[in-house]
Each structure stands twice: as structure tokens, then as C-alpha cells.
Amino acid sequence: MITVRDVTKVFPGGVVALDGFSLDVCRGEVLVIIGPSGSGKSTFLRCLNGLDAIDSGTIIIDGVALDKNEANRLAIRREVGMVFQSFNLFPHLNVEENINLAQQLVQKKKLAEATASTHALLTRVGLLNKANRYPDELSGGQQQRVAIARALALHPKVMLFDEATSALDPEMIGEVLDVMRDLAAEGMTMLVVTHEMGFAREVSDRVVFMDHGRVVEEAASKDFFTKPLHDRTRDFLSQIL
């Protein structure tokens, strides 16, 4: 489904955020990516949907290469959904309009058609009663659930979550993780950067530990926490667990 080979990303100023990064993800797999701050987790997700351009290496998503070809890049953007730490809902649009927008502009759906699928999505994340509210009238947890619904509206083949629960108050983390858990159960391919080790252990199929822009260790999640191979992984786990 996703093939990443020797990807390098150097930011202006010489920071090497990804340094020969390689990874394969299967269809329907839920992958959790962990690593210390500045290890390149966000950069990796951003490169996957073209928000940041890679300097070398190859990324292939569902048979389409993310290269200089504008049509390919656009195709990938539309097939990869992304959920941000800071939600990034459109504040001037209400919940329904937030979710409708890309359906109307990208999928060229009629308003009624878009609204119908928006309502179905809102039901799925338990927020149908908030359809006419504006983002600033919602709690953080509710906003993030709307953001997930908005990304799902384009029927992406892959969903990227970059610390989707890090900006939330503790009591709201659960409701967002529940939505993500349902999504995983439905067979969505998911790449999740998170500090929620409980989620990683329960929901994910595989855990990748990265540092300095490289994969240090990857293992099935049931093994990862019980039998980490590398010292660095052990150090990191002992710090956060």
C-alpha cells in the first residue's frame, strides 16, 4: 500500500529531519510511530501527503509515486487524509460546511448530496446535533472529531494522525481515540503519531520507533513493548511508560 525508500528531507538551515527513512505499510494496517521530540515524526507524515517535499528517495502510495508530477501529487493528496494536532477547522464555516467544502470543490458533489454524506459522517462521530455549530462553539474533542469526519469525507485510502490528541484535555482524549479505534476496526490504513501507549498497544498492528530521522526499531505491537531489542528503544520506553 505504502512504500517509502531512503527518503531524505533536509530543511533550509541544514536540519536533517529524515535521513534515509524506509518503511512499508500494508493495506488495512494500523501503524503507530513513536520517537523523541524532533525525531522527524511529523515531517514523515507531512512528506507522505506532499505538505513537505522530499529531497531524495521514493514514496509510492497505492501504486502512485509522489514525485514532481503535479497530477500524481494531487491524486495522492486526495487519497491521503490528515488529522492535525491543532484541528485546523475552518473557523468561518459551520461544522456541516467544513465537511461539505472539499466534497463540493474536489469531488464536485451537489450540495444536497454532500450534506447527506456529511450527516452520515457526523452520525458516525456522534456529532450530528452539532451540524450547525461553528468550530469555536465546540470543545477540543468535538473539534477533532469533526476534523476526522472532514478528512473521511473524501474516502481516503490512508489516514494520517499527527498527535491528534496532544492538544486535548485528558477527559476528551478518550472520545477521539474511540473514533480512531472504530476506524481501525473498519479496516482503514492508519499511520498514527501518538504518545498514547495504551492505544498503541491495543489498537495498532505494528509500532515503529524512530530517532534522528531513521527507523531504529519496528515490531508487532505485542512484541514491541515486551521485548524491545535496542537500548535506545528501552530508554525511550522507560521514560514514557
Partner: protein
């Protein structure tokens, strides 16, 4: 925001006394030193006069000047808004060529004295460009309807060509400031909004049109309205090219009546009639936007 209690402190009282003293002093100097004879009674006839021939009250110099300033400001604002918007888009465009072109234009306009721009543009436009538009050929005999429309919305046919040149000049000058305001508004939108658009597969233009610009417009409405007030004030410089606006009428009246202070105080009051409502609007908009954003 908390409402301050309206009490007068000792400092306020002293300040008021000082200001009152200055006013009295100026009045005294004008009256005694300049031996100035106030004659306010002569002013109203320059606002409206009774036309014996038609038996009606008609507008006179000052009111006509006010109307000219109003027309000029109105059309120039609209033009400046559209042009400024286009320049702002060029300033943030992906094309280096467009960015450089728009950047040069903005820097030129902002670093030249408006008077110089007026002269340069006026003589170039009036001589070289506008004859092609045929605006000089309209007159009351051949095109009565066109002439009437022109007199109502722009200027009497005889003054149409200079009026249009002044209009374009003013718009081109103000558009540079409008462009900067709009550009700053667009750039003030958090980059997370762009990223969300990108992740949803929106094109750059779709992102601008549906997400970025609607948010930016809310933020720039107050400074944009403020620029409109500036435009009304700046429009007074066109009096140097014989556009018969409020300031021009003021200079003419002063020269013929010698009622210096009466004329200019009246002109000042008339400008305030135009600008105060706009300033009030800015105030209101600021309050609303602060609540929204």
C-alpha cells in the same frame, strides 16, 4: 472592555483650562493682531443660492465641491479596491514575475509624494490615454442622456476628461495601500488553514477563494475602511490639477472673497461630514471584528 467612569480629575480640569486658554489666545490674535473682520453671513450663499431664473434653490460652489469630492472618492475607492485586490493577489502569487511587478508598483507608490504622482499621471493620462476613450466628445447637444448621466455620476461633460484622469490617478495611488492591507490580511491567516486545504486536495486558488480570503476579509475590513477615510482626505490634492473639488472651491472662494477663516473652517466642516461617518464605521467594525476573531 470596561467602561471608564466619567469623572473629571484635577489634571483633566487643568488640561481643559489650558486648551481653552489657547483657543482664546488664537481668537484674540486673529481678531486684534490681524484685525480680522468675521463675516459668517457671507458663507451660506456659497453653499446654496436662490436661482431667480428658475425660481429654485440650487447648489453653489462649496456644495458642488463637496459633491465632486464625494463622487471622486466613491469611484476612486471602488476602483482602488478592485485594483488593490488584484495587486495583493499578484504579491502572493507563485509567479516571481508577478510578485516583482506588483512589489515594484507598491514600493513606487509608497515612496513617491502623492503630488508628484498626480502630476506625472495626470499629464500622461489626460494627454495620452483618455482621448482614446472618447470622453471628451460627450456634450449636451449631441448626447443629452450621456451628458446628464455624466453630470450626475461623474462630472459635467466639459470636465469629464480631467475628472477621469484624477479618478484613475487617485485610485492607482490608493490601490498600493489597499493592496498592502489585503496582503497583510491574507498572510495573517494561520498556515494550518493552508495545510488543512492542502490535505483536503483543494487547489491553491480554491483554498484562497473559499478559506483564506473569507477569513482575511473579516480582519482587513477595519483598516480598509480607514484607508477609505485617507482616500477622501488625499482626494484634496487633485485641486492642484483644477478638478473642482471641495479644496479647489475653497481656494477659489478665498481668492475672490478674502474670507480666509470662514471659508476654510467651512471647508473643514464639510470634509468632516464626509469622513466622520466613515471613521465611526471603522470604530464599529473594529469592535465587531474583535469579537469575531
Amino acid at each position: 472592555m470596561q467602561v471608564k467612569p466619567a469623572t473629571v480629575s484635577l489634571f483633566d480640569a487643568l488640561l481643559l483650562l489650558l486648551l481653552g486658554g489657547i483657543a482664546v489666545f488664537i481668537g484674540y490674535r486673529v481678531a486684534v493682531q490681524l484685525n480680522y473682520q468675521w463675516n459668517w453671513g457671507a458663507i451660506p450663499q456659497f453653499l446654496f443660492r436662490y436661482d431667480a431664473q428658475s425660481g429654485r434653490w440650487v447648489t453653489n460652489y462649496l456644495t458642488q465641491g463637496l459633491l465632486t469630492t464625494l463622487r471622486l472618492s466613491l469611484w476612486a475607492s471602488i476602483l482602488a479596491l478592485f485594483f488593490g485586490f488584484a495587486v495583493a493577489l499578484a504579491r502572493i502569487s507563485k509567479s516571481l514575475y508577478l510578485r516583482l511587478l506588483a512589489g515594484t508598483y507598491v514600493e513606487l507608490m509608497r515612496n513617491l509624494p502623492p503630488l508628484v504622482i498626480i502630476f506625472l499621471f495626470y499629464y500622461f493620462l489626460a494627454d495620452q490615454l483618455l482621448p482614446f476613450t472618447g470622453s471628451g466628445r460627450i456634450n449636451a447637444e449631441t448626447h443629452p442622456l450621456l451628458a446628464a448621466v455624466s453630470a450626475l455620476f461623474f462630472a459635467p461633460p466639459a470636465q469629464l476628461t480631467p475628472f477621469l484622469s484624477a479618478l484613475v490617478t487617485l485610485a492607482v495611488f490608493e490601490a498600493a495601500y489597499v493592496a498592502e492591507i489585503i496582503r497583510a490580511g491574507i498572510e495573517s491567516i494561520h498556515k494550518g488553514q493552508w495545510e488543512a486545504c492542502h490535505a483536503l486536495g483543494l487547489s491553491r486558488w480554491q483554498s484562497l477563494r473559499h478559506v483564506i480570503i473569507p477569513q482575511a476579509m473579516r480582519r482587513v475590513l477595519p483598516p480598509l475602511t480607514g484607508q477609505l477615510v485617507s482616500l477622501i482626505k488625499d482626494s484634496s490634492i487633485v485641486s492642484v490639477i483644477a478638478i473642482q473639488d471641495l479644496t479647489y472651491q475653497g481656494t477659489q472662494l478665498m481668492a475672490s472673497t478674502y474670507l480666509t477663516f470662514e471659508v476654510w473652517l467651512t471647508v473643514a466642516a464639510l470634509y468632516l461630514v464626509l469622513t466622520f461617518p466613515c471613521s465611526y464605521l471603522v470604530e464599529r467594525l473594529n469592535r465587531r471584528v474583535n469579537r469575531l476573531v
